[in-house]
Symmetry: C2
Subunit: 294 residues, 2 copies
C-alpha cells in the first residue's frame, strides 16, 4: 500500500480561489473590501519573504493590503502605537505582526494589544480562550489549515482517534482543541510521553508538530492512518547541500499510511491561504455580515 | 488488591488549614486581608446551601466575606452594576457569581464582566486562554482540586497516561490542560469516543467527569491506576430513598484501582478549599505579594 500524497499546494490554491470569490461577492453585494495589515520589524530575510508573499496573496485575493515596515531599533511604544492605529482603522480587519520582534519589544505586550477581533493570527489569549470553550474565535492559521485538509480528505472526523505530537501554543494545543471540536478522541503527546511509538500506533489521525527531523518513523503509523506533518526542518543532504524534511520519515510512513502530507508542499502552503480566509472571516464579523464557509 | 480511598474531606481540611495560615501571615506581615464576594441571585435552595458554605469557609479562613443577594427578578444591568462595583472595590480580591442565573440575565455577559484577576471561579475566557498557553491564570476550582489530590498521591505526574472522560468547559477541558502542564500524556474522551473501555484501560490516571451514574466500570480500569471521580449523580436507592453516586462504579473500580476518590467525600469537598486557595492567590497577585504555594 502506498499512501495518497495530500497536495497542500493545490489545496491551498482552491482555498485562495474560494476566498477570492468571497471577496468579489462582498465587494459586489455590500461594497465592502476586507483589509489586512502586516507589520514587519527589522530586516530578517526570511521574515521579509513571508511578508512579501502574504502581501502578494492578499492583493491577489482582491483585498486591501497594508504593509508597515519598522526599523529594528524601534521602541515598544512605537510598535504599540502602530497596532493602536490599525485597531482604530475601519478599513483594516486583520492585523498580523510578523514574529520574531527585536529584543527591546515585548512580543506578548504587542500581541495582547491587537484587537482580538482583528487578530487573524489567532494568538491573542482571548482567542485561545474563546476557541477552547467553543465560542467563535480567530484560530491560528497552521492548525486551521491542518483541520481543513483532514476534513477535505476524511469528511466527518467524529470518533476518530487523533494523536497530536507536540504541545506548542502555536500548533499543538490549538490543533488538539480543533480536533476535539470535530469530536475526535484526542491525545496530546510530547517529549515526556512514554512509549511514543505505541501512542502514535493507536491513531487514525497523526499530527506531527515537534520540530525534530524525521522523528516519527514508518513503523509507528497504523496502516491506513492519515498523517499531517507540520514540521519543516532543514538538514544536511547529499553533496553538502541542505534539504527540507518534516517531523515524519516520509518514505517509511508513505508505505503504511492511507494519506500523508509531504514536506515541502503539504501544510506549509495552507498557512497563507488560511490567513486570507481568517481575514475574510474577521472582516465579515466586524461588519456584521454572514461569515463565509471556511 | 483493594484501592486506597482518597479522603477528599480530610485533604480539603488540610488545604483550608494551610490557607488559614497563609491569611494569618498576610495579615501579620502585610496588614493585608484577602476578600471574597459571592453574588447569589434568586432563591434556589441548593445554591443557597453552596453560598452559605462558601461564606462560612471564607470567614473560617480569616478572610473578608461579602454576600450579595439579589431577587430573581433582577435585571442584567443590575447584576452587571454589582459586578462593576466589586471590580472597583480594593478590599475584594475574588468575585464569584453563583450559577445558574435567571433567564433574563445573560450568564456569559456577567462572567465576562468580572475582572479576570478577580475571577476566582476561573471561567473568564481570558483565564481559559492564559491557562491554555501556560501563563499565570485563575484555574477553575474543581479541576484544581483534582490535580492537587493527584499530586498529593502520586508526586511527579510526568509521563503518566491520563485519560479525561468528559469535555465540559468547567471540568474536562481545564483538567486536560492542567494534566498537560504536569507533563502527562493526555487523552480527552467523550460521548463520541469509540471503545471507551479500551481507552480508559490505557490510563494511569482516570478523571471521570461526564455526569452519568456509574458509567466507568471496574473492568475498564488498569490495575493500580488512580481514579478521580468528579461525577455527583443522585439515583434511586433501596427503600425508595435516593443516594449519591459518581461516574465510576465505585465497588468494582475499588477492587482494581490503586487509589480512588469516593462519592460523596472525594472531589466535592475540595472545591470550596480551592476557591479559598484561589482567593488568596488572586489577592496576592493583585497586591503584588509573593503567591503562596497552592
Amino acid at each position: 500500500m502506498t499512501a495518497e500524497i495530500i497536495d497542500g499546494k493545490a489545496f491551498a490554491e482552491t482555498v485562495k480561489a474560494r476566498v477570492g470569490r468571497q471577496v468579489e461577492a462582498l465587494k459586489k453585494n455590500h461594497d465592502f473590501t476586507p483589509g489586512l495589515a502586516v507589520v514587519l520589524v527589522g530586516e530578517d530575510p526570511a521574515s521579509q519573504v513571508y511578508v512579501r508573499n502574504k502581501n502578494k496573496s492578499t492583493v491577489a485575493a482582491g483585498m486591501k493590503s497594508e504593509e508597515i515596515r519598522l526599523a529594528d531599533t524601534v521602541s515598544e511604544e512605537e510598535v504599540l502605537a502602530v497596532v493602536h492605529r490599525l485597531n482604530d482603522d475601519p478599513t483594516i480587519h486583520g492585523i498580523l505582526v510578523q514574529l520574531p520582534l527585536p529584543k527591546q519589544v515585548d512580543e506578548m505586550a504587542v500581541l495582547d494589544a491587537i484587537n482580538p477581533e482583528k487578530d487573524v493570527d489567532g494568538f491573542h489569549v482571548i482567542n485561545t480562550g474563546r476557541q477552547a470553550v467553543g465560542l467563535p474565535a480567530m484560530v491560528p492559521c497552521t492548525p486551521l489549515g491542518c483541520i481543513m485538509m483532514l476534513k477535505d480528505r476524511l469528511g466527518d472526523l467524529s470518533g476518530l482517534n487523533a494523536v497530536v505530537v507536540g504541545r506548542s501554543n502555536i500548533v499543538g494545543k490549538p490543533m488538539a482543541s480543533l480536533l476535539l471540536a470535530e469530536n475526535c478522541t484526542v491525545t496530546i503527546a510530547h517529549s515526556r510521553t512514554k512509549d511514543l511509538p505505541a501512542v502514535v500506533r493507536g491513531a487514525d489521525i497523526v499530527v506531527a508538530a515537534v520540530g525534530r527531523p524525521e522523528m516519527v518513523r514508518g513503523d509507528w503509523i497504523k496502516p491506513g492512518a492519515t498523517v499531517i506533518d507540520v514540521g519543516i526542518n532543514r538538514i544536511e543532504g547529499e553533496n553538502g547541500k541542505t534539504r527540507l524534511v518534516g517531523d515524519v520519515a516520509f518514505d517509511e510512513a508513505k508505505a503504511v499510511a492511507g494519506a500523508i502530507t509531504p514536506v515541502p508542499g503539504g501544510v506549509g502552503p495552507m498557512t497563507i491561504a488560511c490567513l486570507l480566509a481568517n481575514t475574510v472571516t474577521a472582516a465579515c464579523r466586524q461588519a456584521g455580515l454572514e461569515e463565509p464557509q471556511v
